[in-house]
């Protein structure tokens, strides 16, 4: 994370009027951390898939996981950007 980003985030967290949004960012970050772990698990499953069925299954799980992560990041960007 760049200094600018850290400052931006600090400003955001310290601003009391942004308390609700800060809490939302925090909650989304918790979910993103869980999704990050899932992503690693699915990637490992995909790499280790021996049949095409397993491969398709893991690919789809990975795709959903990535889409969720992207949405979470976009939501955080939006929350930070609003301030």
């Amino acid at each position: 994370m760049s200094t600018k980003e850290i400052i931006k985030k600090l400003e955001f967290i310290l601003g009391t009027k942004n308390g609700v949004a800060a809490k939302r960012v925090e909650d989304i970050e918790v979910l993103l951390a869980e999704l990050g772990k899932k992503k690693i698990k699915f990637q490992a499953k995909l790499d280790g898939a021996t049949t095409s069925k397993d491969s398709i299954k893991a690919e789809r799980k990975l795709a959903v996981c990535n889409a969720q992560i992207d949405k979470g990041r976009a939501a955080i960007e939006e929350l930070l950007g609003d301030n």
Binding site: D27, I28, L31, V64, C65, A67, Q68, K71, A75
Partner: protein
């Protein structure tokens, strides 16, 4: 009739007493102020307990010793075993803790409450506590009128402590004045007859005042000015310990069977402890003398010796009863069996759960899960899939097409019988005017009500789906039957996923609900793409195609409703967490991108 007479009689007796003896008036005023202090103190702690206590309980009641420690600490801090026992009944009724943990807390509360005697005997009677009472009352009164919930809570606690101290002061003054006129020691009775008699007086006094703390203060102050003998004071303390269970018994009246079991456990524990204390009173007194001698408490300091006695006999009670917690739980479960699980009646929504936001939300969530259980049985049968198949590890894609046997279920009747009535109860209970919650909690309550609504709606939609599922189960047309099998599979999948989420074994998590929705959408899209081809190739008629399209919409709605309910009930604990989940939840357009 008797109830109507009792209150006026008590008031007349008290008025006569006040007229005859100004000292009695002072003592009675002291007790009243003390009781008001208890009420303020309880209100103050209630303001803090929302959220914090729930989290603490979850972490501190996973073993008996932790539960006992929790009981000791919380009662020491709150200085009210009654409050702790009522809170415990409330948490038990809502399903937040188990009976064994509840019993552990009650045992601990009995030990924790003995610290009150130490405070009064060691501090309350030696320092001019009324000097502390006044500033506490002033600061408390100012803070009580503040808007902030926390400041208000501190205000109530300060005012409560101030009133407690003031009450002790008036009781002490009253008894000291009494000393010059009447000598109550003349009524002292020695031997076991005296023990039982004074124990009964202690029970009665505590039942009337609803506070063993108040009785104990009365005993200690009377003892400190020599108005009662040491032996009789011990018996009174034993009686107060038994009498205090009345608060828990009253508290359990509005609780469910679990709360009643706990109140019974409380009564049994205090009765057994009381009998042990009376049976071994001379031995315990010797032990107290030995201890006091050891720590340097003078032999004529009866007030502190009473505090030591109170602690010793309660410790003895906990030591004797703790190994029997398991058998006690088994005994209570046998003599007070859980009522037959009714699909119609509410199981968790009782008056006792509205005391704290945590218990209220837990009870409402549990009740909605009860509603979901009913819905689960109706929906699975409505799609002609036995609930056992959904609950099993069998592959749904393989098992469901194997059987087309119609399961006879009248969804309309079932909806009215086990969904609508329960859903109405939930809505009615959560909308009651006495439920006042902060925005965090009311947001969560709103989410839970929405979950209940979604579940009820899913059952209604299943009714529409059922007609054609049944109709095409016996059709010779393989193509349409296969399409309806797909619908059955997709609805069964969400039911299974929610069951897996409820098991909480780590095999699935709330994110999988989105993936399941995507899989259902893919299957739906595949069918919709196929419909034209099936009509062209005369595999299905246009009428069949219309039914299929309508039923695909119903299945989509069922899956969406159950997914939403699953997220609220099993994925989030607060409205903030749900909002965060919504922020990452995949919408229809996200699915479209993924499907493409």
């Amino acid at each position: 009739m008797i109830k109507r007479i009792i209150l006026p009689v008590i008031l007349i007796i008290l008025a006569l007493g006040f007229w005859i003896s100004p000292n009695f008036k002072e003592i009675a005023a002291g007790v009243s102020i003390f009781l008001f202090g208890m009420i303020f103190l309880e209100d103050g702690f209630r303001a803090f307990t929302g959220g914090i206590l729930g989290k603490l309980l979850e972490k501190t009641t996973d073993s008996l010793w932790k539960a006992i420690s929790f009981g000791v600490i919380s009662t020491t801090v709150m200085q009210s075993s009654s409050l702790v026992s009522v809170i415990t009944i409330s948490f038990l009724s809502s399903g937040l803790i188990g009976l064994a943990a509840g019993i552990g807390i009650i045992f601990g509360a009995n030990l924790g409450t003995t610290t009150g005697a130490w405070l009064i005997a060691g501090f309350g009677l030696k320092v001019k506590i009324s000097a502390y009472a006044m500033p506490m009352l002033v600061f408390g009164a100012i803070l009580v009128f503040q808007k902030s919930k926390n400041l208000k809570g501190i205000g109530y606690v300060l005012a409560g402590l101030g009133l407690l101290f003031l009450g002790i002061h008036y009781m002490k003054e009253g008894f000291e004045a009494f000393r010059g006129t009447i000598d109550l020691t003349r009524f002292a009775v020695s031997g076991y007859a005296g023990l039982f008699l004074f124990a009964l007086i202690g029970i009665s006094a505590t039942v009337i005042m609803q506070s063993s703390h108040a009785t104990l203060v009365l005993i200690i102050t009377a003892l400190s000015v020599g108005q009662i003998t040491y032996e009789n004071a011990l018996a009174l303390a034993i009686g107060a310990n038994v009498g205090t269970t009345i608060t828990a018994v009253i508290g359990s009246m509005s609780a469910n069977y679990q709360g009643k079991r706990l109140a019974a456990a409380h009564l049994i524990f205090n009765m057994v402890t009381g009998f042990i204390a009376i049976a071994l009173i001379w031995q315990i007194m010797s032990l107290v003398d030995y201890f006091c001698n050891y720590v340097g408490i003078s032999s004529d300091n009866y007030t502190l010796k009473l505090a030591v006695f109170h602690t010793v006999f309660n410790t003895l009670g906990v030591a004797v009863m703790t190994p029997f917690v398991g058998p006690l739980v088994a005994f209570l479960e046998r003599v007070m069996p859980a009522p037959e699980t009714s699909v119609v009646e509410t199981q968790f929504l009782h008056g006792s759960v509205t005391d704290f936001p945590d218990t209220l939300l837990t009870a409402v969530r549990n009740e909605i899960l009860h509603l979901y259980d009913n819905a689960y049985r109706i929906i699975s049968r409505g799609i002609n899939v036995h609930p056992d198949i959904i609950a099993s590890d069998l592959v749904l894609d393989v098992e469901i097409p194997k059987t087309h046997k119609i399961i006879d279920v009248d969804i309309d009747a079932q909806y009215l019988h086990s969904i609508k009535s329960l859903h109405s109860e939930i809505i009615n209970f959560t909308g009651a005017p006495n439920i006042k919650l902060s925005s965090d909690f009311s947001g969560r309550l709103y989410d839970l009500r929405r979950a209940s609504q979604r579940i009820a709606q899913a059952v209604k939609d299943t009714k529409h789906l059922q007609k054609n599922i049944d109709f095409y189960s016996y059709t010779g047309n393989q193509a349409i039957r296969a399409e309806y099998d797909n619908i059955r599979i997709n609805v069964a999948r969400i039911l299974r996923l929610i069951e897996q989420l409820r098991r909480d074994d780590g095999s699935v998590d709330v994110f999988d609900l989105d993936e399941n929705k995507l899989a259902a959408k893919e299957a739906r899209n595949a069918t919709l793409h196929n419909i034209d081809k099936m009509i062209r190739e005369a595999q299905i008629t246009a009428e069949m195609a219309t039914s299929l399209m309508n039923d695909l919409a119903y299945s989509k709605a069922i899956i969406a409703d159950l997914t939403r309910a699953g997220k609220i009930l099993l994925g989030a604990h607060t409205s903030d967490q749900l909002a965060a989940q919504d922020a990452i939840a995949l919408e229809e357009e996200d699915f479209s991108e993924l499907v493409e």
